[in-house]
């Protein structure tokens, strides 16, 4: 194997800065998208379990649509196609004047995509509570809104903390797709360093180590969260 090792390159002037910038963008995309994913995902997930047929149909359609198209295609749809579909004025603004177009697009695309996955977890959590408690609530004269507010949501939100951990990790990994529309996040920066210095081994190792560290920290934080949100007696159920 013919290869010039040079680990020092990672700490040299522009390259260390690139890596740090990449980490910042990765966090900026992942965290902002997570907010969208949580809000939209909870609304859609709850919607799928509502007794109203039209609402649950719309929410099911949302999940099927966003889950069955690759995230990369969705990125391109938001970035290249969306500005052409809206009225001319808005399209021109999106193409010319919108601040940070790559970032905004990546956050929207990743957020709405992850929302469909979060919605599935929320729905599974609500279904896991079981019909017994729901029927008991209705028998006591609770309205639909009260049943969700006081019975279903408090229990199901605690049940779904473990699967949400892995969704939270996935959003960090999926934020790397932002590089396809030109956002220089962590993976893109490591690839750029590899191209500039021919030290691909070092550059990709750096990115790998950083992703592993993010995963470890997130797992630790969520383990603590899981301990506090666990419901005694529900241990066996997921």
């Amino acid at each position: 194997m013919d290869y010039n090792w040079n680990w020092g390159v990672l700490f040299q002037d522009p390259y260390l800065g690139w890596l740090i910038l990449g980490v910042q963008w990765t966090f900026a995309v992942a965290l902002a998208a997570w907010v969208i994913a949580l809000v939209v995902g909870i609304v859609v997930g709850v919607g799928r379990t509502l007794p109203s047929r039209p609402i649950s149909l719309i929410c099911t359609a949302y999940v099927e649509l966003f889950r069955n198209v690759p995230l990369l295609v969705q990125m391109f749809l938001w970035y290249f196609v969306m500005p052409e579909m809206v009225p001319d004025e808005v399209g021109r603004w999106m193409k010319r004047d919108m601040p940070n177009p790559e970032y905004v697009t990546a956050v929207i695309a990743l957020g709405l995509y992850t929302a469909s996955r979060v919605a599935e977890q929320v729905r599974a959590g609500i279904n896991a509570v079981g019909p017994g408690l729901t029927n008991a609530a209705y028998a006591n004269g609770f309205s639909v809104a009260q049943t969700y507010r006081y019975i279903l949501l408090p229990i199901s939100f605690r049940l779904i903390v473990p699967p949400m951990t892995s969704e939270f990790l996935t959003i960090f990994k999926n934020s790397s797709l932002a590089l396809t529309i030109g956002l220089l996040e962590l993976t893109a920066q490591s690839q750029q360093i590899a191209e500039y210095t021919f030290n691909g081994f070092e550059a990709y190792t750096a990115a790998t180590v950083i992703y592993v560290c993010i995963a470890l920290v997130a797992t630790l934080v969520m383990q603590v969260a899981e301990r506090y949100t666990r419901i005694p007696g529900y241990m066996g159920s997921k």
């Binding site: 194997m1 889950r67 069955n68 052409e84 934020s175 790397s176 490591s190 790998t208 992703y211 470890l216």
Partner: protein, 218 residues
């Protein structure tokens, strides 16, 4: 929407079909490779031999914490270097997908193996089967039967993931669509068409999974 140009799709249909064939081929090979290697990883983790289970566990957790794009970059860079000659992006992508998806398949297979009741293993050993015979004739056939719907679901996810070979310009369906989009200046038509094709294939796949679930008593 009125000036949606269907001709650009019709004119480039053979080229697009080539791309789709490559996507499907890559999916098929990576699913087979991923299941074979994933089964090995799962058996290693459940072997009870500490170095083996530690090794497999570390591998699975490492792969599962990095993005697929980074893994594709890794092997695009690493494979030619290790072999000392360029071998083209198809093979490096295939290796990347097989090794990456094997980590995810191994978690599914591990759960599948654990779903086979312990009594089956004990009965096999009592009748004199050795470890490999027990796995080959008793555990794995039952485990795989239980896992089929989840394996198909993972196959659909893998098919969607193959679109990421775009980052190394391998000519799969996604890359080909974007080449047509750029050369013809028809981004709107091509990307909507690509989304429709992916949606139809993946949605049909998930309906098939739903039928598999209904066909089997839980």
């Amino acid at each position: 929407m009125a000036d949606f140009d269907f001709d650009v799709i019709a004119n480039n249909l053979p080229f697009l079909w080539q791309g789709l064939q490559l996507s499907l081929l890559l999916t098929l090979l990576a699913v087979v490779g991923g299941i074979v290697f994933g089964t090995m990883l799962a058996l290693m983790r459940l072997s009870g031999i500490l170095p083996l289970s530690l090794l497999a566990g570390t591998y699975v957790n490492l792969i599962r914490s990095v993005p697929l794009i980074l893994v594709i970059f890794w092997f695009y860079f690493l494979v030619p270097l290790a072999l000392g000659r360029p071998i083209g992006s198809f093979y490096s992508a295939l290796i990347a997908f097989t090794l990456f998806e094997a980590a995810y398949f191994s978690e599914i297979i591990r759960a599948g193996i654990q779903s086979v009741r312990k009594g089956q293993v004990h009965a096999a050993q009592a009748t004199g089967l050795n470890y490999w015979q027990t796995q080959r004739y008793i555990v794995l056939p039952q485990a795989f039967r239980n896992m089929i719907p989840i394996l198909v679901t993972q196959g659909i996810i893998l098919f969607q993931d193959t679109s990421l070979v775009f980052v190394v310009s391998l000519r799969d369906f996604m890359t080909v669509s974007s080449i047509v989009a750029r050369t013809e200046g028809r981004l709107v038509e091509m990307y909507i068409f690509a989304a429709c094709v992916y949606f139809v294939i993946c949605f049909a796949g998930s309906l098939f999974v739903r039928r598999l679930h209904k066909a089997r008593p839980a």
